[in-house]
Structures are given as structure tokens and as C-alpha cells.
Symmetry: C2
Subunit: 437 residues, 2 copies
Amino acid sequence: MVERRKPIKVNEAISRVMNFATSGKVEYVPIEDSYGRFLGEDLIADHHVPPFDRSPYDGFAIRSIDTIAASSANPIELEVVGEIGAGSVFEDTVTEGQVVRIMTGAQIPDGCDAVVMFEVVKEFENDNKSFIQLKRNVKSGDNISFTGEDTKKGTSLVRKGTFINPGIVALLATFGYKKVPVSKKPKIGIIATGSELLGVDEPLQPGKIRNSNAFMVQSQIIRAGGEPIYFGQFSDEFETCFNQVANALSQVDILITTGGVSVGDYDYLPEIYNKLHANVLFNKIGMRPGSVTTVAEIEGKLLYGLSGNPSACYVGFELYTRPIIRTFLHHTNAFLKKEVAILGSDFPKPNPFDRFVRGHLTYESGRLVATPVGLDKSNVVSSLAEANILIVLPGGTRGYEAGMEVSVILLEDQEGTTIEKFTTMDVNTRRSQRKYD
Amino acid sequence: MVERRKPIKVNEAISRVMNFATSGKVEYVPIEDSYGRFLGEDLIADHHVPPFDRSPYDGFAIRSIDTIAASSANPIELEVVGEIGAGSVFEDTVTEGQVVRIMTGAQIPDGCDAVVMFEVVKEFENDNKSFIQLKRNVKSGDNISFTGEDTKKGTSLVRKGTFINPGIVALLATFGYKKVPVSKKPKIGIIATGSELLGVDEPLQPGKIRNSNAFMVQSQIIRAGGEPIYFGQFSDEFETCFNQVANALSQVDILITTGGVSVGDYDYLPEIYNKLHANVLFNKIGMRPGSVTTVAEIEGKLLYGLSGNPSACYVGFELYTRPIIRTFLHHTNAFLKKEVAILGSDFPKPNPFDRFVRGHLTYESGRLVATPVGLDKSNVVSSLAEANILIVLPGGTRGYEAGMEVSVILLEDQEGTTIEKFTTMDVNTRRSQRKYD
């Protein structure tokens, strides 16, 4: 007899999964390996920036008081008493009528309170001494980058959990993080199921297809920030299957299986959950694709039963697994960014279920435009390649027209958003007041 | 005497650099390592998708002709003569009055031309035989995914040079790419210059700062798709410097130095270019930050003299080095995406030079909004952390107001754009007709 399952809403499914979200540990990596990881602690300034008053240009450090009378009609002459390369320090105090040649980044010498650039002075020699001629007066503080003007010592500059981009790497170096505290990656196991699956290097056989989900999910795990561990394909035999799952579970933080979760006669997963005494959080969601997405929990560890259908598998991962990975990484905005866009083409076929349609986001004159890609049959693999968004189309009795506002989920986004914003953001389906042209 | 340099326009600098763009070789990596690389050849379908007519659901494969008379008033009964799991093939031909139980993804048996889902039939047993009762008629082709309906064999599905995302990994697996042809990464050397630079693990000293550019550029190279090789910090002594550059050059495809390119007395790079008989493409650009960005060429190999100033270094890399890296990777859209956004806050200070202001892009009601981050002094490191765009502000005598349209360059984008679009796109500075609210 076929099992009857009761579908729950997407937001309810998210909420049930997130009850089991945990944060992982912190480890240290060399700064060279920190790009693309997530900060394990707040990034703190260990000194003022700049650490001293310094010159932002090549020029001459001067005393502004000496220049009060200077003008085109009355050029003044000042003696160059030394020079400071970046990284050097001028040991004396500069006194009346003196200037010091100074390089970009060098510390302003004692006595000086401004810098004039090379271009505004005339240099000359006289009696074996160097001088500059200046035809304008200078205000105290001109062309000086002051101590702490950018950042005060002790400031928390970047929050724990932030994705480390090149700018953050620069900050880490500036503040002496030779070793960087980063969030440990969750280990995520993958098991592919399905007796129809061939290995990627096997020739095609009647009735069979190559296993693509395992490799796709592996890439999604990497993109989300996790560490994938592929356990291979399931055996067809129940006891062996069961042992494979139990064994894999013991080695990972999260386990993903693909396929085997529908109500077909060959789908072992429900039975395996039973035998493991797993707490099944849900096994049916009112969404397309991915309605059979199943999540179970054993002693706080999550088991994802993603669909064997590539698109359903993809969507199930991004909606329910990614936020768990990002939370493990201490990322505050664990959910993919959700924004409003204009639908770029008609999508006439109505569907009673909420749909997550693969789409491509473009910008047109500063507006977001979302265009569905491919046929959007749930077994169409190729449209996944082009997709950089999922277009959220709430279920109903009518289709959608170009020009309507829709919600879109940004797949390549690193910033993310909170669960509150992700689950409560209006999915506008009203016709845009100003039709897009 | 100070050298006088003649600044050129940004687009002219890009065009001079791109004259020396070359494409790299192709190598093969296991599919597991292909995510995030760039396709070295077009991805070709090695078979139809689906490879055979198959069932998209669990259900019963039937002959539609048998159901013509079926209705609620006149339910028909059909005998279940076998079952097909996904991956199996039904060996016989189905004849009148017969159906076959079929699992999702399995091949439609000979004789059948439609599938009915479990939910619409009633199953029963009689005389040790299995039957279904059906109360509606079915059209030929119902619930069948037809051979090649998604993709025809031989189709080029993804173009050479495309960034490999998880969807493309799924395609690679589907079409048997156990080893994936990917573009070889260009080896990019980095040398940091500046006697003011401390190592990241050294304590601060008067007048000195820690070297952050080398690590930042290293991350930018990785993000762009290259392979960074860090050669360390320059010596202060000219001959040693020269030998370090010459030695590094021989080991890389592209060499980047940071610092040492202004007209200061301690800036050795110009002299090194001379001694190497390098062809200096330009050493001054009418832009801020990054005006001293220098690019030279020796026997087709590019030497980048990026500014020692972190922001200038960052911008110089993204504008002039990244497209060279992406071209090496066979990426057609080698330039960062440039789009129109609404300026999110005033930027009142005018500047005669074209500026590339670090900013943060957000979406508000489906529109792109660009907000400058930090003080935007060119030495402000911290604003780089938050930046996900560069706001392009053409030079002029007036500042910019919130609500104006501006061009923005998307730093985290993987899709990119062509040189034509990047360099000819209008940088609108007119006030937006509809002020943003």
C-alpha cells in the first residue's frame, strides 16, 4: 500500500530544520589560506590606523606657521634639512624655516604640521644647501593622515562569521593575523541511491543514467562553505544500505542521501530512518520541485533525504541544508538573499504548489529582472547550469506574466540574509504598478 | 628632478593592456575538483537527455488506447503484469488490457504510451493476480518524458571559458566527464616593495606598517581564477631588487609588484623597467585611486606595478589585471560586470579625476542602490572589507547627490562582461528622472 504523506509549508519545514542548527568550532589557518573562509572571531584592530601621523603623498613636511605670508607675489624660501623614506623616522625636531623631504606613508617629523606636494614647490640649491620655494600658504593639518583617523585600536572591524574577502584579508594582515581564526567546515557526507545510477565513467546502458547528483551536491556543499565527503553509491540490498548509512553518519556532521525518498517500492530511506530510530522532521513539502525532500534527526545530527531528481535535489539543498552549513560557520545571515525582481517573461502554466523556478537574473537600467531558464520540467538538468536565481512563484490557479513582481533567491550570493527576512519577506504576486519596459 | 608623467584615460589604459592578453592552455582535472574552475572546452552532450522515454513519476505504464471508454460511471480494470524499478528494463511487450508498475526514471516498456500515477488508480487483487481500476481516460504521451526532450546528443551545452558552477558539474557528470578539461590557471607572481613594510607577524615599529597588499592581491588573484606565487618583500638595494624581479619573471605568466611606482626617490621600479628593457605601456592614469598604476611588457609578459596604497592597489588589480587573468582562462566576459545603480547617499566632494569609490550594493524594491563605504581616503583599508562594488564617478567640478544614477562595477560577480560593454557603457551622471525614495 502506498504511504500517504501530509505536506507541510516551506517556512514550516525551514523552521523545523533550523531547530537543529548548531555552531561549529574555530580553527586557525595561515593568512594565505584564509580567503573564502568564515571568520571564527571578530576581527579586532591591534593598533590605530594610521599608527602615526603620516604623509599621504610624496612631498615636503613643513611648519604651516612658516607659510603664513607666502603668496605668488611673495614666495618664501625654506631649507630642506633632511629626508624621510617610508619606514624611516626623522630623529630631530624641525624648526623655523626648515622642511623635510618626505615620502608617501612616512611619519610626519616633530615640529611639522602639514605636507606640500612636490608639484607645488620649486626646488633649488644654494651654497650646497637645498631649498624649496613656495608661493602659497598652508593650513595646519593639510595633507596629513592623522593617527587613528581610519580606525581606533581595539575596534571590532569585522564580525565573526563574515565571509573573508580580499579586503578582509588586507585587514587581517594589517592587524597582525599571521594565523587567522576561521570557522571549522562542517563535514558533510553524501550517499547516492538509485539502482538506475551509473558511475560517471560508465558507458550508458538501457534504462540507466549517470549519477550527477552526488557531484552537484558536492559542489553546492563547497559553495556553501562545507567539506564534502562522498561515500559512493548505495547497495541495492537493505541491510547493506542500512549499514552504509549508519557508518557514514558516524563520520560526519551532516549526512545527505540523494534519491530513495519517494513512496516508490525501491525507496529504502523511510525504512532506514525507522530502523535508526530517527526523528523524521518531515517527508513531504508543499513545493515543486522537491516535494519529497525529507529531513530526519538522530541525536541532533541531521540526515537529509534529498530527491533523486537533480532540480529537486538542488533546490532542497539550497533551502534546507545551506542555512544549516552557514550557521555551523557562525554566519549570521545563513539564508540566501531574497529580493524583488521583475519577471522577464511569461510563465503561464498555473500550479497549485509553491514553485522554485530556476532563473537567470540580469540588471536592466538599474532594475532586477528575473527570467526563467529551460523548460522547467523537474528533470531538466541543463537549466541548472544557467541558473543564478530561484524564482519563487506561489501556488495558485493562475500563471504569471512578464512585468509582474516576483521574489527571487540569489544562488551565488555570499552576504545572505536572516531567517526572519527569508521567511517573512512578501512574495509579491501583484502586477507591478509600473509595467517593466 | 621629479619625472613628469602624462596621465592617460582609463579606457586607453585598458586597451593598451588588453593588446597583450593571451589565452592559456587546457588541463584535465577529476570532476570532483572542477567546481570553481573554467571550462577548457565546450561541454558536449554525449547522449540524448532523457536517453530513453521514461516515467517522471511512480505509477503504472499503460496503453492509452485501452482507456478510451474509462470514466467514473464506467471504471475499467487492467492487469498488472510486471514491474520496472528505475534502472531496470521490462523485457516483454505490453499488450491489450495489461499495465506495468513503473518507478520514477524507469524506461517506458514497449507497447505503452502513457503513465498514470498511483494516486489516480485503485489497486486490488483477484485470483492471485494484481489489477488496477481506472476511472478516466488517458491521452497518448501523458506523463512521459520523451527521449531527447531536454537535450539532443551532440549539443554544445556550455561554452568554453564558463565558470563551472554546481549545475555545470551536474551536466559534466551526466555526460560522462570523469576528467574535466579546464583552463590552466595563470601563475601570477607577487613582490611587495617598500622599506616601511613589516611582515604580518612582526610587532609594529615607529614609522612602519605591516604588509597587507601582498595578501590582499593574493586573494584577488584567487578570486579572479589565477594561481598566486608570493616571492616576498623586496630588498632595499637596487641590484638585489633587479635580480629579484628578473628571477620572479622567469617563473610566472604575470608579475605584480606592489609599491615603488610613484615618483618618490625610493621608488626603484621605473629604473628596473629600464634595465629590463621593458616596454612601459603607461605609468600614469587619470583616475583616483591608482593614478600611478604602471604596466610594462617584456616579450609579451606583463609586469604590473600596482600602487603601494591598498585601495589603489585593489582597484588597479581589478581594472587591469583581472581581465588579463580571465582571458587567459578563456573566459569571454573577462571584465567585471558594470551596471547602473542609484547613488544611496551624497558624495559631495568634487574631484577633477575619474574616481572608483568603494561602495556597497544593496537591492531596494528591485532597484540597485550603491552606497559609498568608509571615508574614501585612499589609505583607508577598512572600507575595502565592506565593498562589493566600485562606484564610478566621472571627474568634474561638482559632487554627487543621493538619487543620481551612477555606474557600478560588481566585484563579486562571476559572469562578467565584454571589453566593449565595460568601456563604452554610459556612465550616467544625470539626475535620475524618478528620484529614488
